[in-house]
């Protein structure tokens, strides 16, 4: 299931390395809970992009659930 529009992500590139972004494994953490997900990142330096739809959608939802746990 996709929580954001990937075409939006494809349009960005790493400014430092002039590299396109590719999906890669990333860990996210909140209130001591850690999750392994896949996010777009720079193939060279590993700079990670969190798309808006993900931040305001699924991520916010999980944050809320964890806060009320």
């Amino acid at each position: 299931m996709k929580y954001y529009d990937e075409s939006e992500v494809i349009a960005w590139q790493c400014e430092k390395c002039h590299q396109p972004l590719a999906m890669g494994p990333v860990s996210v953490e909140y209130l001591g809970n850690r999750f392994d997900i896949r996010l777009p990142k720079c193939e060279k330096c590993g700079l990670i992009l969190v798309p808006e739809d993900l931040a305001l959608g699924k991520m916010a939802e999980v944050e809320q659930i964890l806060e009320d746990k």
């Binding site: 349009a11 400014e15 953490e29 992009l49 931040a55 944050e63 746990k69």
Partner: protein
């Protein structure tokens, strides 16, 4: 909250108390629900309600004398609802019988002597409990005194059909039963486990008076137990008039006593609410249009279906909900305090699963209006503040709930804003002006002007304190934080020589009065009132103004009076709102409501703004700004004397955003230092020097998302310094992020010379874990 406290809280809310009709009914028919179904034409459901409680409904439903009507609230605004007639109409509808499951049969046999309404009730109730019941009717036809009823109300055919239904249910009916008076009741008790004597008809009375010569048989009312073991009696109504429902009630109580007698259980336990009782339910009838009863067009047949529906539609559907009616927050969660108490209790005691009511608890504005309008003074604010304090101390307060507000408080208490000084050139202060954080944030010009005014009109030295009273920490339930901050504040006050603080914010007034009682305080309004007419009126208001009292002045009649006295002395006409003074409403800012639940906060202030068509006047900056945020024309009391630039209508001043509020505070401090103390204090951090440009829609978006300009500046500054950013060739836009504390901010921007044009910004609290730390 322990179980006892929970029960005490729950019992304070009377919404679940029964309505008058149900409490008045000797057998407690749920009349309100019945009428609700009739009103919407749901006759099947209406019938089910009657049948659930009423014995032999086909008979009693037609002849009930409806003592409930004497206590109907409708009678206070028109005539009582014709409940008896509506019941009769329902019984005439020929509705299908609801399925009822027979109980397992019991090996006990009960005799019912006489077949009037109380006897039939005993037979009805006990046969449903699985007893073998035999009705011994001395007459040659079952029905007893019911046979003498008006045949238009109770046609003989219906009576015999209803009695037949009892037989179908397993009740045996013996007519022409001969009972030897001389040997009564022993002769009957030989064959039965208990006897019920139906007293409405003559045989019962004869048996009772003539049996067992010499012995006076007594009946204990409400239990219908006699002084002879195994003998129960009732239906002999002492009332001056004939009352079928009272007789049925006596039959019901006798059936309960018989059941307990046979099972040898406590005869009296838990029977306090049998028969009519007082109810605590309150129903306000103000504003309800008086309506007469719908006339019965044909008395012989009673109400037609449509007449009955029309009559049922007059029912007020009594309920209290006084607090829910005035509070959008209480309305939002679709219940009432009794339910909320339980939810809040469960939220605290949940072991596995989510704390589902965190948001409910954090959404209350703590304004205390519920307590004022509640007939029992239920104080939702006390419940919520206690729950919040527990959530903080037990460490399950959601971190995001109040973080933004607490950061704002921290800003006010930091060196960027806070200041405590004697007036320039003075070494002591009799008074000290304490404008509060939000007046400074929203309208710094008022702080400048008022400070000048105070210094020119009071003697003894007038110091100045810019700070925050810690109200946000109080509202959020952060007691320790509040204590620490208050003690810092007190030290500053002691250093100034313990001056009397002149307060311009009612929330500050509330906090100081309640939590720092050693500090002498007075409101700015009382000072202005005492120096009457020294202040020239500069904003002329010709139309009357509706006055909105801040909710934190609810119990401060003197403060409210001062404001009114000022307005009167300047000849300004005021209109009192219906919910004013002790019953004033919150603006949605109190209790950090707008921080936690902006939707409800918007409803709260919208509701307030719609109460009058006049412009509003208030004496709390946040109230004024909240009103202004709805588009309502509203002025602050200080606008009358210090309206600012002539070109700007103070009633139309927009509600400033959160970034402006910070900038205004920082600038106020540096301006005051420069103008009054000749000090230069500009201490801008590097990122604050970045020039940010935003279109109004982007500004609104970041305001809603609680992202400050300083957050955006930090992201861009970090992107420039580290080079870590993304680029989109098609749009020439950059995207970068920065995580100063617990939140990661993302900004999409483009650069034009020295200006940064912001296209979008968003944030998340979840941290992306990288090898070097969190991103």
């Amino acid at each position: 909250m322990d179980q006892k406290t929970l029960t005490e809280w729950e019992s304070k809310c009377i919404q679940e108390e029964p309505p008058e009709c149900m409490a008045a009914c000797p057998i407690h028919i749920d009349v309100r629900t019945f009428l609700h179904y009739v009103k919407s034409g749901q006759w099947d459901d209406a019938y089910k309600i009657i049948r659930k409680t009423m014995p032999v409904p086909g008979i009693l439903g037609r002849i009930c004398d409806a003592p409930c009507q004497a206590r109907c609230k409708r009678s206070e605004v028109g005539e009582a609802i014709e409940i008896g007639e509506i019941e009769r109409a329902c019984m005439q509808m020929e509705l299908p019988l609801p399925r009822s499951l027979p109980m397992p049969k019991k090996d006990k046999h009960i005799a019912v002597i006489g077949s009037s309404i109380s006897g039939l009730t005993v037979a009805w109730d006990l046969s449903r409990k699985g007893y073998r019941v035999t009705i011994l009717e001395p007459g040659h036809q079952a029905g007893g005194s019911l046979l003498g009823m008006d045949p238009k109300k109770l046609p003989p055919q219906i009576l015999s059909e209803e009695i037949k239904k009892l037989e179908q249910f397993g009740v045996t009916i013996t007519i022409n039963a001969h009972i030897e008076k001389k040997y009564f009741p022993d002769s009957v008790l030989d064959s039965f486990d208990a006897i019920y004597l139906s007293m409405e008809s003559l045989p019962g009375k004869i048996l009772l008076s003539e049996s067992k010569t010499g012995e006076q048989i007594q009946i204990m009312p409400q239990y219908q137990v006699t002084n002879i073991e195994g003998l129960f009696a009732g239906g002999h109504s002492d009332k001056s008039r004939y009352s079928p429902v009272w007789q049925a009630a006596e039959g019901r109580w006798a059936a309960t006593s018989i059941d307990r007698y046979v099972h040898q259980t406590s005869p009296a336990a838990g029977r306090e609410k049998e028969g009519p009782y007082k109810t605590r339910l309150y129903t306000r009838i103000d504003g309800i249009v008086s309506l007469p009863a719908v006339p019965v067009s044909n008395p012989d047949t009673g109400y037609s279906e449509m007449e009955a529906i029309a009559e049922a539609s007059r029912c007020l559907q009594c309920e209290c909900k006084e607090c829910v009616k005035v509070c959008p927050f209480l309305k939002k969660y679709n219940a009432y305090p009794k339910k909320y108490v339980r939810e809040i209790h469960n939220n605290a005691t949940v072991v596995i699963g989510a704390h589902k009511s965190n948001k409910l608890i954090n959404s209350c504005s703590l304004c205390g209006l519920c307590e004022q309008v509640c007939p029992e003074n239920f104080a939702m604010q006390d419940l919520c503040i206690q729950a919040r304090q527990d959530m903080v101390s037990e460490r399950y307060m959601p971190p995001s709930a109040h973080e933004f507000a607490l950061q704002d408080m921290e800003f006010s208490q930091s060196s960027k804003f806070s200041l405590a000084r004697h007036a320039p050139g003075q070494l002591e202060s009799r008074y000290c002006f304490y404008p509060g954080c939000q007046l400074s944030a929203s309208s710094p010009v008022h702080v400048h002007e008022v400070y000048n005014y105070l210094r020119s009109s009071l003697s003894g030295g007038i110091g100045l304190m810019l700070d925050c009273c810690s109200a946000p920490a109080y509202w959020g339930g952060y007691s320790d934080l509040m204590k620490n901050k208050m003690s810092e504040l007190k030290s500053k006050w002691v250093e100034l020589g313990k001056p009397c603080l002149i307060l311009a914010c009612s929330s500050c007034y509330f906090i100081f009065k309640k939590y720092m009682p050693e500090i002498e305080i007075i409101t700015l309004w009382e000072i202005i009132e005492k120096n009457n007419n020294h202040l020239p009126l500069k904003h002329f208001q010709h139309e009357a103004l509706a006055i909105h009292d801040p909710c934190t002045t609810r119990h401060e009649g003197t403060v409210q009076d001062s404001v009114r006295n000022i307005l009167n002395s300047y000849g300004i006409q005021i209109e009192e709102l219906e919910l004013g003074r002790k019953k004033t409403t919150c603006c949605g800012f109190g209790g950090l409501m707008n921080n936690v639940n902006p939707d409800v906060a918007r409803e709260v202030i919208k509701q307030r703004a719609d109460e009058s068509v006049l412009d509003y006047i208030t004496y709390c900056t946040m109230c004024r700004d909240s009103l202004a945020s709805t588009g309502k024309r509203a002025i602050h009391l200080l606008d009358l004397f210090f309206p600012g630039k002539e070109s700007v209508d103070p009633a139309k001043r927009p509600c400033p955003g959160w970034s402006d509020r910070r900038e205004n505070r920082a600038r106020l401090k540096s301006d005051l230092l420069r103008k009054l103390w000749r000090e230069n204090s500009e201490t801008m951090e590097a990122h604050e020097k970045l020039n940010i440009i935003m279109a109004p829609d982007v500004q609104n978006k970041i305001e809603e998302r609680r992202i400050l300009v300083t957050d955006i500046q930090q992201v861009i500054y970090h992107a420039i310094e580290s080079g870590e950013k993304f680029f989109q060739p098609a749009t020439s836009c950059y995207k970068a992020s920065f995580r100063p504390h617990q939140t990661t901010f993302w900004v999409e921007y483009s650069q034009k010379e020295d200006n940064f044009i912001i296209h979008n910004a968003y944030a998340h609290r979840m941290a992306v874990v990288t090898e070097g730390g969190s991103q």
